[in-house]
């Protein structure tokens, strides 16, 4: 039925044109800000503030990049970001996976409720947690320690990771584990040889979300980091100065910040496809 409608609509040139119009529009909406960021990062201060915006024809300069990367602590901030994002992603997947597995396999009343309720926690915006988080960190005198951010990002991301992985684990029939046990697999072998290969897509999806959030998060990072523990998003805000906003440098840094999560996503997305082709879990 719906296929027939789809087929008929594809025969109508106006409809096809309409479809493409919408797709192009959506693509433009998504891509324009990125182009503005990249192009601005390649302009000097004068070109940027030149009366009307220039979209394409200007003389590119890498001055902003040199500035940003040369400025004292860029390496340090990049390193902080990488540590915080990867370690908290690793912890989230490890702990979230264990929780999700227990929720999916253990039999107790209200299990599904618990699994879904984890999502509610996720509804709380991080900014709301900023003040309590800040006072906790003060109380334990932990400011300027990267562990603090890792800890908060893990806590922040766990609910979503648990909920997502719970759904993936639910799809794997218990019989697969039992078959492996009968075949002589130890608990660790059951996990690494049977469950993990089938959970690749699940962990990849959860990993992408977790990594991106940890990488981009700003409010908590601003409050909870000191001079040496800043992450890149916080460092960007340093270019909002009393004497003006340095758009060129902000955009250059923004462009640099986007690269690692892009690489991470490409890598993880490969696992999603690997997981999907690993195949029909149900016989």
């Amino acid at each position: 039925m719906s296929e027939r409608i789809a087929a008929r609509s594809l025969n109508n040139p106006w409809r096809v044109a309409g479809h493409y119009f919408f797709l192009v529009l959506l693509a433009l909406i998504c891509l324009t800000p990125i182009w503005v960021m990249i192009s601005t990062s390649l302009k000097d201060q004068i070109t940027i503030f030149d009366g009307k915006p220039i979209w394409f024809f200007f003389v590119p300069t890498i001055e902003n990049y040199q500035d940003v990367m040369g400025a004292g602590k860029f390496d340090k901030y990049l390193w902080n970001s990488i540590i915080v994002a990867t370690v908290s992603t690793f912890l989230t997947l490890l702990l979230g996976g264990l929780c999700a597995y227990s929720l999916a396999r253990a039999e107790f009343k209200g299990r599904r409720f618990v699994a879904n309720a984890t999502l509610l926690v996720r509804m709380v915006p991080p900014a709301v947690l900023a003040v309590p988080a800040f006072s906790m960190v003060l109380a334990f005198n932990l400011r300027s320690d990267l562990m603090v951010l890792i800890f908060f990002y893990t806590a922040l991301n766990l609910p979503f990771a648990i909920w997502l992985l719970f759904g993936f684990y639910k799809q794997i029939p218990v019989e697969l584990e039992e078959a492996a046990i009968v075949d002589g697999a130890s608990p660790l072998q059951v996990f690494f040889k049977v469950l993990l290969p089938l959970m690749k897509s699940g962990y990849a999806v959860a990993g992408i979300f977790t990594f991106r959030i940890a990488w981009n998060e700003f409010v908590l990072a601003l409050l909870l980091t000191g001079r040496n523990t800043r992450t890149l998003p916080v460092a960007v805000s340093g270019y909002l100065t009393d004497t003006g906003v340095e758009w060129g440098r902000i955009m250059a840094m923004g462009t640099l910040i986007v690269i690692p999560p892009l690489l991470f996503t490409f890598f993880a997305a490969r696992q999603i496809i690997a997981g999907m082709t690993a195949g029909a879990v149900k016989g």
């Binding site: 009968v182 075949d183 697999a185 072998q189 040889k193 029909a280 879990v281 016989g283």
Partner: protein, 363 residues
């Protein structure tokens, strides 16, 4: 005694008792089929033998060794699951060799064993396919293959054929029987399908509500069911049950009920005389009805009101009633007969069964 022994095994989930007290001895190399309606505790029993389910009380022995608390891999068992439970990310060869690889079997031996099992199951051309690229029947055979490369002491099957279509199922039944002959291993097979049980088993265990109702050869349980449950469960279409009373005495003993009076066969007379004042249930298998009387006179004439006569080749299946109670019969009238109508039919009284109406036990 070698083989598999369950001794006073109890299984309860909390306060719900699934299996109150089960004892069963299975001989070495025997093909035992546990059959019973859905939910009666067959899978639970099998899974306790496998070690996938703990026992609440009692002991389990495999090959003279108490394995009650042993892990599955220490029990020398192989198991085929109803859903096959093939590893989706491994190809057929990978699925079949998984257990051997875990056990650290040398590569050459693994290859050889997988090859032999694949030949036996006609899977040689599919060894590098993933389960999702196989048909239902092929998946089923891979599941079998995965267990036979193990060369385990006991093979456990939990309704392995129930996801196949009727034709494939009967082919696989035959293949399984052949496999059992070739491997000569102890096999415990669980099913709700009495035809599977009858065709494959050396011995049948009939279970209901966690209790073994009868253990015996297919012939035993068909010809001498211990109670009404077994009588109704074994045989297809199932046995007719009619309420009745015993009248007369000695060799003149008869069962009287609504619309029928049937003389009790010689075979039944002694036991039936002893139970004369009890209310009974008369059991008649549909296949023991006929359209014409036999010369030896051991037939009772009954007037059946036939509602429908279904053509099934050389015989016809009758959905009828006798004195207002529904009754089924299959009568052998040859492939060319007209649909049968209401009238007189003949029941072979030598084949009658009598049950105590209150307890359901056979007289």
């Amino acid at each position: 005694m070698p083989g598999v022994g369950l001794n006073n095994v109890v299984k309860a989930y909390g306060s719900t008792v699934i299996i109150p007290d089960l004892s069963l001895d299975i001989r070495e190399s025997e093909f035992v089929v546990i059959v019973g309606p859905s939910g009666c505790g067959k899978s639970t029993t099998l899974r306790m033998v496998a070690g996938l389910e703990s026992v609440s009380a009692g002991t389990i022995h495999i090959r003279d060794r108490d394995v009650t608390y042993a892990a599955p891999k220490a029990r020398d068992i192989a198991m085929v699951f109803q859903s096959y439970a093939l590893y989706p990310h491994m190809d057929v060869a990978g699925n079949m060799s998984f257990a051997l690889r875990l056990a650290g079997t040398p590569r050459a031996e693994i290859d050889q064993r997988v090859k032999r099992a694949a030949e036996m199951l006609e899977l040689t051309d599919y060894l590098d396919r993933k389960p999702k690229d196989l048909s239902g029947g092929q998946r089923q055979r891979v599941a079998m293959g995965r267990s036979i490369v193990r060369d385990a002491y006991v093979f456990l099957f939990d309704e392995p054929l129930s996801n196949l279509d009727a034709k494939l199922r009967s082919t696989m039944r035959t293949e399984l029987a052949i496999l059992h002959k070739k491997l000569d291993r102890t096999m415990i097979y669980v099913t709700h399908d009495q035809i599977e049980a009858m065709t494959m088993a050396d011995r049948i265990v009939i279970m209901d509500q966690g209790i073994i109702q009868q253990v015996g050869s297919p012939r035993d349980v068909y010809t001498a069911p211990k109670n009404r449950f077994v009588a109704g469960f074994i045989g297809s279409p199932s046995m007719n049950f009619l309420d009745g009373e015993l009248h007369g005495s000695g060799s003149k003993l008869e069962v009287h009920g609504q619309g029928f009076k049937i003389p009790v066969s010689k075979r039944m007379q002694i036991t039936a005389n002893a139970a004369k004042d009890r209310r009974v249930t008369l059991g008649m298998r549909p296949e023991h009805f006929a359209a014409t009387a036999n010369k030896d006179g051991k037939y009772a004439a009954l007037n059946l009101d036939v509602d429908v006569a279904e053509y099934i080749g050389s015989s016809q299946f009758l959905a009828a009633s006798l004195g207002g109670q529904p009754i089924t019969a299959t009568v052998d009238v040859g492939p060319d007969a007209e649909p049968m109508g209401s009238g007189q039919y003949f029941f072979d009284t030598n084949r009658m069964y009598l049950f105590d109406r209150a307890s359901g036990e056979a007289l």
